[in-house]
Symmetry: C2
Subunit: 326 residues, 2 copies
């Protein structure tokens, strides 16, 4: 039964191919055979981006919100260079409005000339947006809470006001010629109609990516930011890619608020089992252990005994070597 | 829209209710409202066991295969008592044929008079089965590899031979009046037809549970044993329950071969977010930290910084308290 299934047959004729060539998405898709036992072998869904995702590493933004993380400018530069060398597509930095030091760090890292695009992450305010674009970053990630809970207890604004402010901020960032992503915080506790009406509005004015949405209503890319409180961040990231998301937020060792977000290493363990050629062609997997060592030292934490791939007991040596080098 | 959905409406009329009352499955299902934002609210699938699962804790079997774990008899007794007090439904022990000490440990723990049922885990051999039932355990978990890879490189037997041996071993264990589960190792790399034909054969002779199968063909309970190499063990356990599985194998902190299996704490973090009343009514969640401390000390490992629920940065204190006590 398996031999009659060609995992690539749909890609060759699927309607997303042209879009990929025309739009912002990367178009590489590995030609090597996938793991024949992988979950996605009989993919007949043209939405799936399992073999053409991009990574937005947030160690220097979400990771800075981890309880133990206090990164110096020098350490941030070292981590940014290591992530860039590893091959992540984007590096997200703390809001330059958080402190004068954060602003200076944005400027310094934006000027390093890295291959990865440099993003910063701001509230949906014009004041934040103005400071952010002046740091020289390649793009700005804008966020605002849309759930009833956050609307009541955080900013106190209604949906009409959120939409109006979002359009103003996005138009300003676009006018400065850089990328802009718009995301609703607490999306899964928001009313779906509210979220979709906001995303629909921002997509019409040309936002590059939205945080979370059903692909049926948006033509821009979709980025997922997933916390791991109940251990499902990696699986949710994978399912999101299957459903049409294009970008996954990660951090090294998953550091972030509470017990963190999708970990870079664990996410790539999952994706490599599905499309090894794509992952190995794009990311320097053999550098993962070094980056994890760098960040664990900088954040003052031990690498968990059961860490994916690089944990001391994770894989017998022959499998680890195979993972990195074949 | 949400208010019109009653998560229990299907349960009251679903065809599995009668089976639950007659069969081995537990029939409690919480009457408290579920988390209104939980994924499974509009459950219309009578197969789902999200609110009536049982835990088979394998810290003293799978966990013993963890690189660092060498538990003394006294430590095994302490861990078994703690797991029993916590409320796990089953405690699985290492094969009594593994060593004379393992056999004695099975006998000692089977005689403790715990509420949890005591299982041991054996190869699909008559010699193993005879030794296992003589230890006084409440049930035996039988396993054999059915994938082409294991059939070629491990035991060298064909499907007909596997089926014949399985029937002989299961009949013998049943004749001694104790529970028996039959599982194929490496199930996801096995031919589906092979696996289903074996499960169908053992179900016809009255096995209590099978390891993994499509519920369409079996009437017995279904147990899931999931490794966490690529970070999806908890999500897979949850999805398995939704699809009709009834029992989940866990270990404390997830310790096991390589980087382990579904962790007890992480699994209950996930399930508590879906049906808090069921989890809090059945398991002493407030004891989780103590059990994790006991096992981490016994196995000589640190509790990961990002451990679910009990990690030092996992939840702000008010949420942890809420998780345990409300």
């Amino acid at each position: 039964m398996r031999s009659s299934l060609d995992p690539h047959r749909n890609f060759r004729t699927d309607p997303s191919t042209k879009k990929a060539q025309d739009g912002n998405r990367i178009i590489e898709r590995s030609s090597a055979p996938r793991n024949p036992y992988a979950h996605n072998i009989p993919v007949t869904d043209f939405l799936s981006n399992v073999s053409r995702f991009q990574i937005i590493d947030s160690t220097l933004r979400e990771g800075e919100q981890f309880a133990n993380a206090f990164f110096s400018t020098e350490k941030k530069i070292e981590i940014a260079r290591a992530l860039d060398d590893f091959g992540v597509d984007y590096i997200e930095l703390t809001n330059p409005c958080a402190s004068e030091q954060s602003r200076k760090d944005c400027e310094v890292i934006a000027k390093l000339g890295l291959q990865a695009k440099i993003l910063t992450h701001i509230r949906c305010h014009m004041e934040d947006a103005k400071i952010a674009v002046d740091t020289g970053v390649d793009g700005v990630n804008v966020v605002i809470g849309a759930s009833p809970h956050l609307r009541e207890h955080s900013h106190g604004k209604d949906i009409a006001h959120i939409k109006e402010t979002a359009i103003q901020v996005i138009k300003y960032i676009k006018s400065r010629g850089i990328e802009v992503r718009f995301s609703t915080e607490d999306s899964f506790r928001s009313d779906l109609v509210d979220v979709l009406s906001i995303y629909s509005a921002v997509e019409q004015i040309g936002v590059n990516r939205v945080g979370i949405a059903d692909t049926g209503i948006v033509g821009c890319d979709i980025e997922m930011h997933l916390h791991d409180d109940s251990g499902c961040a990696i699986a949710n990231a994978y399912c999101a890619l299957e459903a049409g998301a294009t970008h996954i937020d990660t951090s090294v060792l998953g550091i972030g608020e509470r017990n963190g977000i999708t970990p870079l290493g664990g996410f790539l363990a999952r994706m490599t089992s599905v499309d090894a050629a794509y992952c190995k062609g794009k990311y320097k997997l053999e550098k993962l252990q070094d980056i994890e060592g760098l960040v664990s030292e900088a954040a003052g934490i031990s690498i968990p005994f059961n860490n994916y791939i690089t944990g001391f007991c994770a894989f017998p040596r022959q499998y680890s070597c195979k993972w990195c080098n074949q």
